[in-house]
Symmetry: C2
Subunit: 154 residues, 2 copies
DNA sequence: GTTTCATGTAACTTTTATAGTTACATGATT
DNA sequence: AATCATGTAACTATAAAAGTTACATGAAAC
């Protein structure tokens, strides 16, 4: 599967922007993410379109949060990226076949619910939470409790 | 995102195999799925390795279920395919950064739980359930099937 | 035993999605 | 005006999935 790094890039950038007093340039952000400034502009451009970020040209320009980090949830970012991250393909065989139709129903329902689970996880964490993980001690902060831990069979 | 059609191919094939009295060839299955016989062998080969299917060479050879369709769950098939269907990429940025570490924790937990939801959906449906969807209404009753003249009563 | 049928698999090609890059326009600050 | 930074289109590169070719293996039919 061809992986998709847009969410990771977006969250990492937002986390650093939350900690920065001044705007950050695409070039600085690209360096932190080991990628290219144009890629940064493409991804952050979606967040700007969603009202999460603002950008300025010229001297002292760059990117900054459009509202406080505590008021930007990871789910907001996930929605702003607006890409399907689940790669289960629905069949190309003719849906007149009852098997195909039944499969479509099943897979669609499962994917919808899986997306809902992702969303509910992401809705509980804000960019401020991610940024705090860096200021705290420089390492991973546990996720906010949302579900009972340890009951995932996968 | 690069879509992945292996699960759809596998489920559709198994559904028809559940209804067939005789083995089906890769060529016949490929025609039903509008794909190539070698692709069918690649995908069904994984199901054989997982003990869900058996294959025979030569005349009257082909594929058949290794056990009754009611005893093969969609989750069994999903597990046999054994591919990651969630394309959220964990960051390539150095994990010494606390933001990256926190993000990894969050995304991993969310993906794990999303996978669990898929699994629980798929565990509730068997291949027999899918096949029933065809016999119930759906499509042409067990008349002469499309793939071979004469002796293949599906 | 040879022909035919079908799977098994490696190797290659094609397709497509993501990421990376180049080039240039636009606007803001100095 | 010069510089800095974003905005975007167009192109290239990489990687994953599917499609295809080629050939080996084994089983049944003749």
């Amino acid at each position: 599967m061809k992986h998709n790094g847009k969410l990771a890039l977006a969250l990492h950038s937002l986390g650093h922007l939350a900690l920065s007093q001044t705007p950050m340039t695409s070039e600085a952000i690209a360096a932190q993410n080991q990628t290219h400034p144009v890629v940064v502009r493409r991804v952050l451009g979606r967040l700007r379109a969603a009202g999460l970020l603002q950008s300025e040209k010229g001297h002292a320009g760059g990117w900054r949060l459009a509202r406080p980090a505590a008021q930007i949830s990871v789910a907001d970012v996930y929605a702003a990226i607006d890409e399907p991250f689940l790669s289960l393909q629905l069949p190309k065989a003719p849906p007149e076949c009852g098997i195909v139709a039944a499969m479509q129903t099943l897979v669609s329902a499962a994917m919808t619910e899986a997306e809902a689970v992702l969303h509910s996880h992401f809705a509980r964490q804000s960019i401020a939470d991610l940024a705090q993980a860096m200021q705290g001690h420089g390492h991973a902060a546990p996720e906010k409790p949302a579900f009972l831990p340890g009951d995932s069979p996968l």
